[in-house]
């Protein structure tokens, strides 16, 4: 920052005015929706009850946060001070109203954080700006990191199993491992369409649904096995990708976005209403579970456990599912990386950068767009078939717009086109929302009526906004070009055009 030094110095009166204004706005925002609660009474009539305390708390929180943000100039100090102040106030409140013995301790902790933040801010303000460390040679290191990451992924279920036992590790392998990997795969699939070819697709979940229903219907009506249905799911999803692709080829940017969104909604509405085909809202249940290439994961004599002479536990199936989705995701990754080096992959990226230049140089834009759509859809279909075999149950509820939005957010947050970035973003977003399920301990602080699950999606939405503001170009914004003259060097993300369709 080239700002003069005295401007960097926080100014108490300016910070106070600013915080007062923010508090006033918060009061305006909170007045009808927060301060008055609608409730149904015994006669089922809607009545309204004042609840001023919520509004007052919101105003106070915003005032304190804004004031501290105005007084502290460094974001690290702010990140320390604002929770510190909240903890201090909360501790004091608890100590006074509920005679909580820890009240004083909590207050002291908050105050300590607050003082620490001011000290940190003073030090950082006087310190010279840090000089960016020179970048080490990255090619070798990134290869090493990805190999280590891969090894860790393969070892993850066994480490968990050894550490927590079959009961304790089930949650970690299933809710974290499998769930995150599904989104990694979906993110990589959509990355072909959005990140590489630059076509904004808001209805990706439709292909996921096509894959899931393909397996669900074929296995329940014709008794086909998962390994036959998996390629069929991919082919059918790709087919739908082409069907959707044809009419929208002429559309650009946001027109493409709304048509893909509409397509996703159409598929969902049809699945809900065409009961003869899809059983409507009730969905399709008792879909055959996954087998180890024909050997079922049961306690029976011909089961997987008996075959290998192991003691039967359901964790075997979960671990197999984990490796299945890991291999599928890696397949997506490898195919994408290889395609990038082929003419078609270069054509996608060229199309993203400049469609008119592409056309003038003789790139067949129709085929380029269609292949991107079809391939992206195919991987969505694979993931869908996996979803069906994992859940044993599919219903239209699983394929709402929120899913499409989440996958798109993963791609954009990952840095549009960066494979590792997409994987990191999936871990952050899906792992983060799963962790939010574990907040039951907050009940001890806020009382039994506090239900943390309610706040899960609220925090999810807020995190999406915050992460975009923090890193608008995604976590990994530099690109490695697929073709280069002499030396492979990373390209800054700001030099890369975005998906315009």
């Amino acid at each position: 920052m080239a700002a003069p030094l005295d401007q960097k110095r926080p100014d108490l009166s300016r910070a106070l005015v600013d915080a007062g204004f923010a508090a006033l706005v918060t009061f305006g925002l909170s007045f009808p929706i927060l301060a008055l609660r609608t409730e149904q009474d015994m006669q089922n009539r809607l009545i309204v009850e004042p609840r001023w305390s919520w509004s007052v708390i919101a105003v106070m929180v915003v005032f304190c946060a804004r004031l501290l943000a105005g007084l502290l100039s460094d974001w690290r100090a702010r990140a320390l001070a604002i929770p510190g102040a909240l903890i201090a106030v909360f501790g004091a409140h608890m100590g006074v109203t509920q005679a909580l013995t820890h009240g004083a301790g909590i207050t002291a902790l908050g105050l300590a954080l607050l003082i620490g933040a001011f000290a940190l801010d003073a030090r950082l303000r006087d310190a010279p700006a840090p000089v960016a460390a020179p970048r080490a040679e990255r090619a070798d290191r990134s290869r090493l990191i990805s190999m280590a990451g891969l090894a860790a992924l393969f070892l993850f279920p066994f480490v968990m199993l050894a550490w927590l036992g079959p009961q304790g590790s089930l949650k970690w392998i299933n809710n974290y491992g499998v769930q995150i990997l599904i989104y990694v795969m979906l993110g990589w699939g959509l990355n072909i369409v959005v990140g590489l070819a630059g076509l904004l697709d808001l209805g990706y979940v439709a292909f996921y649904a096509v894959g899931a229903y393909t397996y669900a219907l074929l296995s329940t009506t014709f008794g086909l096995s998962f390994w036959i249905c998996l390629p069929l799911a991919g082919v059918l999803a790709a087919f739908w990708g082409v069907i959707l692709g044809f009419p929208v080829l002429r559309l650009r940017g946001d027109y493409l976005a709304i048509v893909t969104l509409a397509f996703g909604e159409i598929i969902r509405v049809v699945l809900i209403n065409w009961t003869d085909f899809s059983n409507g809202y009730a969905g399709i249940s008792s879909i055959p579970r996954v087998t180890f290439f024909g050997v079922p994961f049961t306690a029976a004599d011909d089961g997987f456990a008996a075959m290998l002479g192991l003691e039967f536990t359901p964790i075997h199936r979960t671990i197999f599912l984990y490796f299945l989705i890991l291999c599928l995701a890696l397949l997506t990754n490898v195919v994408t990386l290889r395609l990038r080096a082929l003419p078609i992959g270069r054509a996608w990226e060229a199309l993203r950068e400049d469609e008119i230049a592409c056309r003038s140089l003789g790139v067949n834009t129709v085929n380029t767009k269609l292949t991107a759509f079809a391939l992206g859809a195919m991987f969505g279909g694979f993931a869908g078939a996996f979803f069906a075999v994992r859940q044993n149950f599919v219903s239209p509820e699983s394929f709402t717009f929120i899913e499409s939005a989440t996958i798109l957010a993963i791609v954009v947050l990952g840095g549009m086109g960066s494979q590792i970035g997409v994987a990191l973003a999936a871990v952050a977003m899906i792992g983060g929302t799963e962790i939010l399920r574990e907040l039951d301990f907050l009940k001890q602080i806020f009382g039994e009526s506090f239900d943390p699950a309610q706040y899960r999606m609220l925090i999810f939405g807020l995190a999406m906004v915050v992460m975009m503001i923090w890193k608008p170009r995604g976590l990994i914004s530099s690109r490695t070009p697929s073709i280069f003259l002499k030396k492979r060097t990373a390209v800054a993300g700001s030099l890369v055009r975005e998906g315009r369709g």
Binding site: L36, L46, L251, I258, A405, G461
Partner: protein, 304 residues
């Protein structure tokens, strides 16, 4: 014939609501080229605000006159929703101005998720029924199947028409409208000529939210029930309407809204209500195949 006329009345009522929301989409898109995904949820929020103010007026303050209550509710909902959208723009979109194109879109989707869950947390997940208002009917034709029009429907169409007229006046005749149209054409040039671009964009969000609040109040009045999930479907329909009419075009948004409302109502009346969403979206897809920039949109000319 009577059925047709009846459905025409119903369709125009629904279309008015869509048109009012669609203006918010189209204005924001026109000026900053962003699909404001949270707009549907701002609409839902405004319906809740209207509901709460209505209940507060009638229960806590004991106001008995319905027309007065309606007028106060309308104005207050417009004001509070406008404040909300102003704050949302300030917090979630302004820091991303000039950033790359998909960043504000994702931020808006996050905001949309936040808003609907926020309303769920603070007001509860249940449906909120509203006592019926303005239920008297006017018989336009006689007979057992006669065409009727409720006071509600007349009110909705009248309020929509009046506000659209006022809005048209603001955009065409005032300095704010001139600044807004200038920013829409060329933001950089407008700022060089002394237009405060940030302020104009803020005001665009404020106006869009005020119109969405009108739609929200009318929606609450018409259906008599609101829920925190009510933002998504009307939002997507209104966005569809804006695209159908040609995104960026204000008359296009209104025409698109009316068209979508009519398509939905007629499809429900003559075929099946299950597939009314499919009908609306299919019409959109077919229109875009033959008219890629919508009914009244300017074709996008790309200079090399």
């Amino acid at each position: 014939m009577e059925n047709f006329l009846q459905q025409l009345v119903n369709g125009l009522t629904l279309g008015s609501i869509y048109g009012l929301i669609a203006i918010g989409y189209t204005m924001v898109f026109g000026i900053i080229g962003m699909v404001n995904f949270a707009h549907g949820d701002v609409f839902m929020l405004s319906a809740f605000i209207a509901l709460i103010i209505f209940l507060a007026l009638t229960q806590l303050l004991g106001l008995a006159s319905m027309p007065v209550a309606f007028l106060i509710v309308l104005v207050a909902a417009m004001a509070f929703t406008a404040l909300w959208n102003w704050a949302i723009e300030r917090v979630a979109y302004r820091p991303l101005r000039g950033s790359f194109r998909l960043a504000p879109l994702i931020s808006a989707i996050g905001m949309s998720i936040f808003l609907s869950n926020f309303v769920q947390v603070v007001q509860g997940p249940r449906n909120k029924p509203v006592p019926p208002m303005f239920t008297d009917l006017i018989h336009l034709t006689d007979g057992p199947l006669g065409v009727t029009m409720s006071y509600k429907q007349i009110l909705i169409m009248a309020v929509t028409a009046a506000l659209l007229l006022g809005f048209w006046f603001v955009v065409q005749k005032t300095a704010l409208g001139r600044a807004q149209r200038a920013c829409e054409q060329d933001r950089k040039m407008a700022s060089l000529l002394g237009v405060d671009v940030d302020r104009t964009i803020s005001l665009t969000f404020v106006i869009g939210a005020a119109l969405a609040a009108v739609a929200g109040t009318l929606y609450m009045l018409y259906y008599g029930v609101v829920n925190f999930t009510d933002g998504f479907t009307p939002g997507v329909k209104a966005f569809t309407a804006a695209v159908l009419g040609g995104i960026g075009s204000l008359p296009g948004a209104v025409i698109g809204g009316l068209l979508i409302g009519l398509i939905e109502t007629f499809w429900s009346a003559y075929f099946s209500s299950d597939y009314k969403d499919v009908a609306a979206f299919s019409v959109l897809a077919v229109t875009l195949i033959f008219m890629p920039s919508g009914l009244l949109g300017r074709p996008e000319v790309e200079k090399v």
